[in-house]
């Protein structure tokens, strides 16, 4: 008889234990009420870990620097917590759900999804929760139209701008945009929605400038591209634009060399532009070009400051000191600057206290970083001047080109503008189609102030 009672009791006990284990962490922590929470959904594990780790290193180092050397943002110190997503959608959602209510009395000002599929999955949720999910150099291009995507921000360089900048650099090398006519430009793209997103833009640009646009898909993960480069050899293009991700990029570079295509006429997109993309290709990678919005290098003033306050003081998040100043580390710095400048902008309007999602969105939408501010921040040359608005959630649209010399990246161009005006109608069209499918009424930019 006792055992009959014991059974449900046991079940209850086990369940309670499990729940307590999950609930405990949220109950245990206590924090100061005037600190700003910054959720960090990161990935340090999985197939793309090497592309993520340096970013968090740079981000956390910069946040720590702002806390220690500058006392936070207008006196409001920052604290953050990481959640591992493995670059997977399900974990990304779980991390978002964990963080969205904020922590220790501080709401979530801005949520960095750190992953294209994660960002897409979170879009509707974040919009309902009124939390902005900015995506640096990725994310749905049509989200540039903030009237239809109030909470999505494809910051700095959308995919369309990326493609356009590549074309404009090619034009620069060839001697002018009129020299594009008659050229053959092959795009080797990762056969996924990410890779395909630039097809529309390139088709438009090809029509406008008169070059031939050849699209060649590489199935995921892209570790054997013999056939693709054989096709390229057959087509004999003048340039190859690589829209890669992960292992596809180094294999592309190696296979290019293997099939005799000049590597210095291969230009990689923003996600094929890191050291991690080029080093595995070995010595044949010399001469490879890539587009970036955060060029590599340690001779920017911010690096000197970081070195002094964080690295030399042993407070860096870096495990591998060689990554200091790498492309992805610098992208982490840029991420941090976006976050903190947006919060600063919001604080100017709402007060020097922890910012919530709606205020963070306002801050992002009214973000302005001009040359003077870039100098103050110590990132002149590392970041481009930016101006966001309700109609323009990208804010920048320019990029630099770097070239690999076998051991490091060298900057070989100044900021190259994309043809934003040319591509804008295409973006508006796609945004309108999305609005129609979802039944979204575009908001009035004049009203949101």
């Amino acid at each position: 008889m006792f055992s009959r009672l014991l059974r449900p009791l046991n079940a209850a006990a086990v369940a309670a234990l499990g729940l307590a284990a999950i609930a405990a962490p949220t109950m245990l922590s206590a924090g100061s009420p005037n600190e700003q929470f910054i959720p960090l959904a990161t990935f340090r594990v999985g197939a793309y870990a090497s592309s993520g780790i340096p970013v968090w290193n740079g981000l956390i180092d910069t946040l720590r620097y702002i806390n220690e050397a500058q006392g936070g943002i207008n006196g409001v110190k920052l604290f953050w917590e990481e959640c591992e997503t493995e670059w997977q959608v399900e974990k990304g959602i779980e991390c978002y759900e964990r963080f969205r209510a904020g922590k220790d009395g501080s709401p979530v000002p801005i949520y960095l999804p750190n992953g294209d599929p994660i960002a897409k999955a979170l879009l509707q949720r974040a919009t309902a929760d009124k939390i902005a999910i900015p995506t640096l150099n990725y994310g749905p291009t049509e989200a540039i139209d903030g009237r239809i995507f109030p909470y999505a921000f494809p910051l700095m360089l959308s995919f369309y701008s990326e493609a356009s900048t590549a074309i404009n650099y090619i034009a620069q090398v060839e001697g002018g945009k009129d020299k594009l006519k008659g050229l053959k430009i092959a795009t080797l793209y990762h056969d996924s929605p990410y890779g395909k997103e630039t097809q529309a833009a390139l088709a438009l640009l090809a029509k406008h400038y008169g070059f031939e646009d050849i699209q060649i898909p590489v199935p995921h993960p892209g570790n054997d591209q013999t056939a693709q480069w054989a096709r390229i050899r057959q087509a004999k293009p003048d340039w190859v634009f690589v829209r890669g991700w992960g292992v596809m990029t180094p294999v592309a570079i190696k296979t290019a060399a293997k099939t005799g295509f000049p590597v210095d006429h291969v230009i990689g997109g923003i996600w094929s532009s890191s050291e991690e993309d080029v080093i595995p290709a070995g010595p044949v990678g010399k001469g490879y070009l890539a587009i970036t919005t955060y060029p590599a290098g340690t001779n920017f003033p911010i690096h000197a400051a970081l070195k002094k306050y964080i690295l030399d003081a042993g407070k860096s998040d870096l495990k591998d000191p060689k990554s200091f100043g790498s492309v992805y580390y610098n992208s982490g710095i840029v991420h941090a600057i976006f976050l903190t400048e947006a919060i600063r902008t919001a604080q100017a309007k709402f007060g020097n206290r922890p910012i919530n999602g709606a205020e963070g969105q306002w801050g992002l939408e009214h973000l302005k970083i001009d040359d003077k501010r870039l100098e103050e921040l110590g990132v002149s040359g590392l970041m481009q001047p930016l101006k966001l608005s309700c109609l323009d959630h990208e804010g920048g649209g320019s990029a630099k080109v770097i070239q690999w010399d076998g051991t490091k990246w060298n900057i070989v161009s100044d900021w190259i503008r994309s043809d934003r005006e040319l591509l804008r109608p295409l973006i508006d069209e796609k945004a309108a189609a999305y609005a129609k499918e979802k039944g979204i009424a575009p908001r009035d930019c004049a009203v949101s102030g």
């Binding site: 594990v45 090497s50 293997k258």
Partner: protein, 293 residues
């Protein structure tokens, strides 16, 4: 025409790379009847070990030797912990066990040696050489040569040495082999060890081709069609299967993909395998399986 030839040759050589991985599978399948899904993880482990040791400053040969020891040790551990308890289970169970094993090896390798991408330098600069009208990659030629040496060594192993003969005995008639005193466990350890060595060769060549990183484990997905076409129990079949899959995949990519509007190499190898399964299930050189009721 020269373009067709070039695609063909490129495909054949790519097929050799697939075959290198497939050989490891064949060895284990011949000895223990298991499709070792963990082979991909073993290739990663071998390559990662080698590259990490090299980055610590060890010479090529020392690193190779230590990697060899590691892989053989792994083989012994696997035989003891995974294979022996699962002796009489159906092949599906064994396959699922190797699935679990692949997770363990991947997790451990990355836990101990990190997840960053490494460059593997074999000293071969992959600039193509010209033979007639076509370009051929030096690395691929080196791979083909290695494969040739490997196949030769393995066939000598199987026909001349005692171990090889014992292996063939077990494959023929396990009961009889056991009854004349051939020890199964020690044989399995040896075979898994040899498979580990093959993993090193495959790992080095694939790593040189695309860098050493997690995606290396995916080569196992290309090995399966090779094995289906060539037969699970024949090393020569693995090479033949590799040729067929590599060549057909390359040709399909060039000539079929534009027709369908996208790259077909995801699934083309499997389509070929499917056709073979329906026409000749035991593969070109495999042994016909006898089904017992």
């Amino acid at each position: 025409m020269s373009f067709f030839l070039e695609t063909l040759v490129g495909g054949l050589l790519a097929g050799v790379m697939y075959a290198l991985v497939a050989i490891g599978f064949v060895l284990i399948y011949k000895a223990s009847g298991v499709f070792n899904f963990a082979q991909g993880a073993m290739v990663l482990c071998a390559a990662l070990t080698f590259v990490t040791l090299r980055e610590q400053g060890l010479s090529f040969l020392t690193a190779l030797a230590i990697a060899l020891v590691v892989m053989v040790a792994l083989a012994i551990v696997v035989e003891r912990i995974v294979l022996r308890p699962l002796i009489n289970r159906p092949p599906l169970t064994l396959f699922m066990a190797t699935l679990g094993l692949s997770f363990v090896i991947e997790g451990l390798s990355q836990f101990l040696m990190g997840a960053s991408v490494h460059e593997l330098d074999l000293g071969i600069v992959d600039v193509p050489i010209r033979i007639g009208p076509i370009l051929i990659s030096q690395l691929d030629l080196a791979a083909a040569a290695s494969a040739g040496v490997l196949v030769l060594a393995l066939s000598l192993l199987f026909s001349r040495t005692r171990i090889g003969i014992s292996l063939r005995a077990i494959a023929d008639d396990p009961q009889a082999a056991l009854s004349i005193g051939i020890r199964l466990p020690s044989l399995w350890r040896i075979v898994w060890g040899v498979a580990g060595v093959v993993s090193i060769v495959a790992g080095l060549l694939w790593g040189a081709r695309q860098g050493v990183q997690f995606a290396l484990t995916l080569v196992v997905l290309k090995a399966l069609p090779v094995l289906i076409v060539g037969g699970f129990t024949s090393i020569g079949g693995a090479i033949a299967g590799g040729f067929i899959i590599g060549a057909s995949e390359s040709l399909a990519e060039i000539y079929l993909s534009p027709l369908l509007g996208g790259s077909v190499s995801n699934w083309f190898a499997y389509a070929v395998a499917l056709v073979f399964l329906l026409i000749r299930p035991s593969g070109l050189f495999g042994e016909k399986a006898v089904e017992r009721v």
